[in-house]
Symmetry: C2
Subunit: 428 residues, 2 copies
Amino acid sequence: MPAKPLRVALAGFGTVGGGLVRVLQENQELIRQRIGRDIEVRKVLVRDVHKPRAVALPEGAVLTSNPDELADDPDIDVLVELMGGIDAPHALITRALERGKHVVTANKALLAENGIGLFQMAAEKGLSLRYEASVAGAIPIVETLKKSLAGNRIESLVGILNGTSNYILSAMSSEGLDFDTALKQAQELGYAEADPTLDIDGHDAAHKLVLLIRLAYGQEYPYTAMPIRGIRGMNRMDIEFAREFGYRIKLIAQAHVEDGRLAARVCPTLVHHTYLLARVGGSFNAVRVEGNAVGSLFLHGRGAGDLPTASAVMGDLLAVARGERPDNTGFVAQTPERAAILPPEEVRSRYYVRVMVHDTPGVLRDIAAAMADEGISMAQVIQKTGEREGVPLVFMTHEASARAMRNALSRAVKAGLLTTPAVAYPVL
Amino acid sequence: MPAKPLRVALAGFGTVGGGLVRVLQENQELIRQRIGRDIEVRKVLVRDVHKPRAVALPEGAVLTSNPDELADDPDIDVLVELMGGIDAPHALITRALERGKHVVTANKALLAENGIGLFQMAAEKGLSLRYEASVAGAIPIVETLKKSLAGNRIESLVGILNGTSNYILSAMSSEGLDFDTALKQAQELGYAEADPTLDIDGHDAAHKLVLLIRLAYGQEYPYTAMPIRGIRGMNRMDIEFAREFGYRIKLIAQAHVEDGRLAARVCPTLVHHTYLLARVGGSFNAVRVEGNAVGSLFLHGRGAGDLPTASAVMGDLLAVARGERPDNTGFVAQTPERAAILPPEEVRSRYYVRVMVHDTPGVLRDIAAAMADEGISMAQVIQKTGEREGVPLVFMTHEASARAMRNALSRAVKAGLLTTPAVAYPVL
């Protein structure tokens, strides 16, 4: 006798929700071979039940606009939350957990900003709260950190976690577009939202980084403490100069441990062209993990989109259907401790710096002096010939703290050396 | 009260066994945080108990040269098999399963050639038989196929699965070494065995491909039916010509489904330089999986070595320690059906071909005619100037079956066009 189907309530029937319904249908026979039971969508929550849908409602499923009908239905085993936002899904997931339902979600903002209580509640109830789809789309980085690398001390995490930003930077780099044109192209192709703030200002990547840090270190790096800088207003000139030095500029989310404290940030960063991370094009995502046993592990895949995200949701649903023991955080403690944080100002790296200067003798000497006064030494310099707004003076430094770099640039400003604000990006 | 430790018997105390003991020691505190219990090595099986060891025996562990002392000890929960070979580990694993012990192994040869009975026995006993370390070293491809991608119909698998071969090809490509010199270098650096047959003749990659096919398709592609060609005797000339066309030569293990039948092979293959697979250097491994939801997923990491392999074994050990439900094949059926196989002769691909010909007028025409007679059309041609053994004539073809290529080359031989045997490699 076949096992009973797993009964799903789906909250959100947009791109990803529609993709999930399609994959469940297309791969139905395969799912039976994998887990010996069916997965059936019984209820679908939408804002407007009368709106026409691109994907047909699964057979036997009911549309509703009332979230309580999902959480309170005793014939539902698992809630799949694909609504987006924070408050509404938080209320729905809380209620579903209270009513004994497992939860699968793709909601990185919710989990990063407000997830701890949910993990605690799931643990108390012995329920699964799974979220593979919330970080790096189709890339199985949540499972990899939670399970496959669990025997490793993680030394560093480096990710390209925002497909929109990577699409824009790739288009600027390969097609020579400026930022605004590349953003517009991304919006036209559906790679960027009408309001792209979360993506291009780095918040989305930071949400994901908070989740990866929890999985890798079992610690909470509060989202509000994370230094975040996005790609808005990126100048094509810097992409070209970086290339002259052999680098690509990527929006990099990274974390590592230094003397027992966590250093983390989201920032446009130079990546040497020989690194696999430099080869991540278009809207793809990638994560590089370094551990004390695994060495360097690199995962690359689609970071968004209906079917890739559905693939990650499916992995979670099948785990629930198999009856896998909940292990939501990957640690015994279901409430991570607050991380000891290395103040962002103290984080050290090499830097790429571009300043626009007056084309007068001695200006390189004066800039170099401003750097030297903060203990920063220059490793390579390119000086270009004059333009209207001044001459770009571009250099790579040896390792320096963020504080030293800020101070050196502010010395240069005070000395009247710069015609426009400086640009400084760390080098991976 | 803390949970009881997981008690391990370790068979084999060489490179990987020593690495595992080191990682267990170094990461002991972390393991407690992850799973809430200790992992203790209680017995270690070696051939010679008197031989001096590079790594100290774990505290409380006993050395033995009698495998039955591992399998029959009621105080052992799990056997970790890192002996290598086939018959001895088969006997030991069988006996351990009979006695109710979980098994973790890195033994791809055993599982590929003789694994089905072991999976069946583990399933009957409700025991875990885990083998993440057996394919692609530290890369979590077993878990990824079994769990994360379980909701996908897998469209293709492409892997660089043998680090020794990849090291040799990389050294030939980047340092301009010939095959014998590169092999010797690999042996001196410990990347190749004194007897490198399993690696450079493709058998090791084929063993791993058989395991990946089982995980992806739930089907058995018998090892004895797999077309296998290694890199032995690879000519540097072909690496250079391939580069002129924009390709790298890699030892590629691949499988895909065509009209419901499995096409699979291990063969030196041209990979376009823009592919991530072309960027896999030295002894690294990589796997690219394409699925109908995930799209393209690429995983890259260390394919061998003490600590990377130990990382994979640790992942499996921690899963056993957590009490994860055994799910050894990733399918309900624990005995995969024999795959419907597309005869290797019918598998189609583009080809790189190099023939050595007499430098006489009309030879290109005659070669092209031999190809055309088998329905093969040439896409690009390079003709070089004369050398002693004849002139290399190099071309890329449009898609052709392996049979058509063999027939066309044998036509060219019969027509007396070639001065030495032809070289033909498929293009990915």
